[in-house]
Subunit: 269 residues, 2 copies
């Protein structure tokens, strides 16, 4: 088993949680007192992490929200990495995908410079675009399979010999998973398709966005997503937790939202 | 017509060139005297730009090669942008793709912070992942269609009702192109498929990697790629130009390689 899977299993058990919190900082939505200050992002993230780190198995940092701030955003990203306790999985949600010599650069950047435990990658270019990430055997690689956005069906549901593209991606991910460090991104917004993916990939971890702001159904996610060990899902929530309150109690409100999500999932397991 | 298309047409005519030079700096391949110095990337890039800016219609900056260097890489990227003459198209080769609120962040980062004229995006998530880029009407958006890497066929050639995925992407790109600012990335490594794409998309600009180090056939590219105006292709070369010589004459050697490529393309037009 890979270090990544060990780490994920350990923290999911320790915190009794299948929740992944998406740290997607949007300074325009920050509460008064933080909004507009020099170190707004790291102040906000630190408060969220302090209030939620016993309730989550992973934090997912969406690179776009840091890159858009320029160098100060990437400094905030690094500071956020330092603020996260060592035993929690940290996912770099980068969705990178490029030819092999470029993919090696992205993998080096995300795994060696930023030191993420896992990343998200895009499968469109096939094996040689994914392999440089998978070659980091101690790290996790979540491949986009079936996404949670309204347009996901346009290409991902196209059928080849009766089989939709997202299932072909899932089956190909099985081949990429010889080192046991591959997972998939499967949106919460299509429960029965999630079940089809689970059937195709055994106990592989599934990173599941789309709960909350995007309207996914938690019952369907747990029913169709759990693996044979009663785990194997990381249910991501970003906005519903980060911005549960826009007032000075935002961090406590985030804790409450994270705890509710954790308990709802556990009640359904 | 979009500002992007105007700018591309103007510079392609002025420099009589369909060459795009990929500025993918790899410090390990830098010549002695630059290798290991504090400002190696910008020193190298400036020398390449000075020697080639009258021979190219575009520079393409692959984000991975800058991100992998951390903050100093992104500083070098910004300095490189400043070193490129204003009338040359600059493409941010980022291959981003994510749900709408995230795509807006990536678009803002690439178009507003870094001020690229055009970017590359990944179509896997469909319309709502591409639209936030296309909404910048003055900017160009090159959508990955058929890539140049060996594994490209795994998903891109899967047929739905007889039509391969890459052609479905091309046809969908026509729909995204209502503002006239969309192009496609089509690898040089499959000439006849390039012709199929050209037939599907009219005069849309095609960004064509895969010449040189990747082995694409220039005859096939020009034969199948040109649009009805005898243009509409950006033939990218990175390593074959940047590292044409590993000695102190690297910039002059880059000039020679770029000039040869320009002339070869023009002889075939």
């Amino acid at each position: 088993m890979s270090t990544f899977i060990d780490k994920l299993s350990h923290i999911a058990k320790k915190n009794n949680s299948l929740v992944c919190i998406g740290l997607d900082p949007d300074p325009e939505r920050f509460p008064e007192g933080i909004k507009g200050t020099e170190h707004d992002i790291i102040t906000f993230n630190r408060a969220i992490i302090e209030q939620t780190s016993d309730l989550t198995c992973a934090y997912k940092l969406n690179m776009a929200f840091y890159e858009v701030q320029g160098p100060r955003g990437l400094e905030a990203l690094e500071a956020t990495m330092h603020a996260i306790p060592d035993d929690i999985v940290v996912i770099g949600d980068a969705k990178r995908g490029d030819i092999d010599n470029t993919a090696r650069m992205y993998a080096k950047s995300l795994f060696e410079y930023y030191r993420f435990d896992a990343v998200t990658v895009n499968p469109y270019q096939g094996t040689d675009a994914v392999q440089p990430f998978v070659d980091y055997e101690d790290k996790g690689v979540f491949v986009l399979c079936l996404t949670s956005n309204p347009s996901a069906h346009e290409f991902q549901h196209l059928k080849n010999e009766g089989e939709p593209l997202f299932l072909r991606v899932a089956q190909t991910a099985n081949r990429w998973n010889s080192g046991g460090n591959v997972g998939l991104v499967v949106g919460a917004t299509n429960g029965s398709a999630l079940g089809d993916v689970r059937s195709a990939v055994g106990d592989m971890p599934l990173l599941i966005p789309g709960i909350g702001a995007q309207g996914g159904d938690l019952n369907m996610v747990v029913k169709h997503g759990l693996n044979s060990n009663g785990g194997g899902i990381l249910v991501n929530s970003s906005r519903s937790i980060l911005y549960a309150s826009s007032g000075p109690d935002y961090a406590e409100a985030a804790r409450q939202a994270a705890e509710e999500l954790r308990n709802q999932i556990n009640a359904l397991r």
